[in-house]
Amino acid sequence: MDVRHVAKLAHLEISDAEVDLYTPQMANIVKYVEQLNELDIEDIEPMLGGLTAEGEQTFTLREDIPGGSLGQTEALSQAPSGVAGHFQVPKVL
């Protein structure tokens, strides 16, 4: 595995020391999970979605009625940088 490439996909700027640390560790983990290859599972349906029959049957839609929200001040209160009602970030280009 090219750990540096994967880190880039994951938006992580990892150091050379980290590449050296993670490369063997992740190779070991991948090798471990590849034990699933010994199973013949071609005809098995993958388990996607809800886990319980009752959960699947539970009606999840609600009436389309507007409710309260956090509000601008509160929503911005935890931002590292906010200005004039906006989240502020460094320049894009």
Partner: protein, 464 residues
């Protein structure tokens, strides 16, 4: 004693023990005392005046909610999780937020950005994880109950290592609104208690449908507390004997096998069952959990909340630096592993395959529960290990969850109950896994067991 003096005593104990145990990341004296003042003049509730500790990945309005991570070290939740709201409405008082592995990724509490919590039975050992701080807060006698969260065993395993009761409910039993997401198809809020009764009392309050979490199911919430004393005659416990072999510590095996006899003496019948795919649980888990985590943790980018790296002149650079400096090694490993298994060309080889084996793990349980009401195994293959013992070897750490992880994959509930001490005086837990929505049966079995076989010992660090 009045509520206020009880709560003051609790907070004093939390503050006194925390330098040794590091179980709390924040102790909320001011908040708790304001709540007592409010409760003194308000109507009765089922948990009126009960002090509760809450894991730091569960949102508590106005309080720090750091997820054990530097990237959220300064985050104060803007709303209450539904479980927290229901606790508050029932009169409970949150006294603090507890230490945890960073973003609940770990089995020892050592991946916390704020240092590991210590096991009160032996301060050189881990409390387990990821909900280690909540387990320690209960085991050390500071609180009777605490909330944790589970993705692969993060309540049951620390409960076992700390000598207390820990419940992971059925997927969809407790709302996860306000639980910071790690792996959404596996995450649950769980409950720690000094006794099964403590857990039952809290479960009855926080369980049930929540319109803010569409994965909660519309299933009636029974009166769990009233089921605790039911007779175990007529109940059948399944024993998957093949799971008592390799990799299981001898002392743990002995105590857990002895607990089977104890359950028979209490009137339960036992029957052999097979869980042939359980041994693949860890492999399936580390594909599905990391894939979902890589997606869920994409939101931490230094824009809307939490930490932002300084001196990044350009937006993309800021994302990369913030995540690099904000996340610890275990979280980075898992985000990268999840990114890898979902990346172009690998989806079928890993993720799709894992979802198929997950279906087989679930099928094992469905078949087994045709023969029994609960399945008994050890909770953890060993007693609490030394701090640092497994921190350089991710796979060995991951295998701590070998007995717990398959219940998360299948969505079924499980409970860990203390069943004895090792020769060194460290707690051992027995796990009961039940069919969907059978928390009442599990709590009933656990309650009968702990009453007949109480753990007649206390940790060396205890609030008492």
């Amino acid at each position: 004693m009045s509520i206020v003096s009880e709560i003051e005593k609790t907070i004093d104990a939390a503050e006194r023990l925390n330098p040794e145990l590091n179980s709390f990341l924040s102790i909320e004296r001011e908040h708790a005392l304001a709540r007592t003042a409010f409760l003194e003049s308000s109507a009765d509730g089922p948990l009126r005046g009960v002090a509760i500790a809450v894991k730091d990945n569960i949102c508590t309005k106005g309080m720090r909610t750091s997820c054990g991570s530097h990237i959220l070290h300064n985050y104060r939740a803007q709303y209450d999780a539904t479980a927290v709201k229901r606790l508050n409405d029932a009169g409970a008082i949150i006294v603090g937020k507890t230490n945890m592995d960073e973003f609940a990724m770990g089995s020892s509490n050592e991946s916390s950005a704020f240092g590991a919590a210590k096991n009160p039975w032996d301060l050189t050992r881990v409390p387990g994880g990821s909900s280690g701080g909540s387990a320690v807060a209960v085991a050390s006698g500071v609180v009777r109950v605490a909330l944790g969260s589970e993705t692969g065993g993060s309540v049951r395993q620390p409960a076992s290592l700390c000598g207390i009761v820990g419940l992971k409910p059925t997927y969809g039993r407790i709302s996860r609104y306000g639980l910071v997401a790690f792996a959404s198809s596996l995450d649950n809020i769980g409950i720690f208690g000094q006794t099964s009764r403590d857990v039952a009392d809290v479960l009855g309050v926080i369980a049930g449908r929540d319109e803010h979490d569409s994965t909660t199911a519309d299933v009636e919430v029974p009166d769990y507390s009233s089921m605790l004393d039911n007779d175990l005659a007529g109940k059948t416990i399944g024993i998957p004997r093949s799971l008592f072999g390799d990799g299981l510590d001898e002392e743990v095996r002995e105590k857990v096998l002895a607990s089977i006899k104890n359950f028979e003496e209490l009137g339960a019948e036992t029957v052999d069952v097979e869980l042939p795919y359980a041994k693949y649980g860890i492999a399936v888990y580390y594909i599905i959990a990391t894939a979902e985590a890589s997606s869920n943790l994409a939101r931490f980018d230094g824009v809307r909340y939490g930490f932002r790296a300084e001196e990044a002149a350009e937006l993309r650079k800021m994302y990369f630096k913030t995540r690099e400096e904000g996340f610890g090694p275990e979280v980075k490993r898992r985000i990268m592993l999840g990114t890898y298994v979902l990346s172009s060309g690998y989806y079928d080889a890993y993720y799709a395959k894992a979802q198929k084996v997950r279906a087989l793990v679930k099928r094992d349980y469905v078949e087994a529960f045709k023969k029994c009401d609960a399945i008994l195994t050890p909770t953890s293959p060993s007693v609490a290990f030394k701090i640092g013992e497994k921190s350089d070897d991710p796979i060995s750490m991951y295998l701590s969850d070998i007995y717990t992880v398959s219940a998360n994959l299948a969505g079924v509930p499980g409970i860990s109950v203390p069943c004895g001490l090792s020769a060194e005086g460290l707690p051992i837990g027995v796990q009961l896994v039940g069919n969907f929505w059978s928390e009442g049966t599990l709590l009933n079995m656990a309650h009968k067991y702990e009453n007949a076989h109480p753990l007649d010992a206390r940790p060396s660090v205890f609030a008492g």
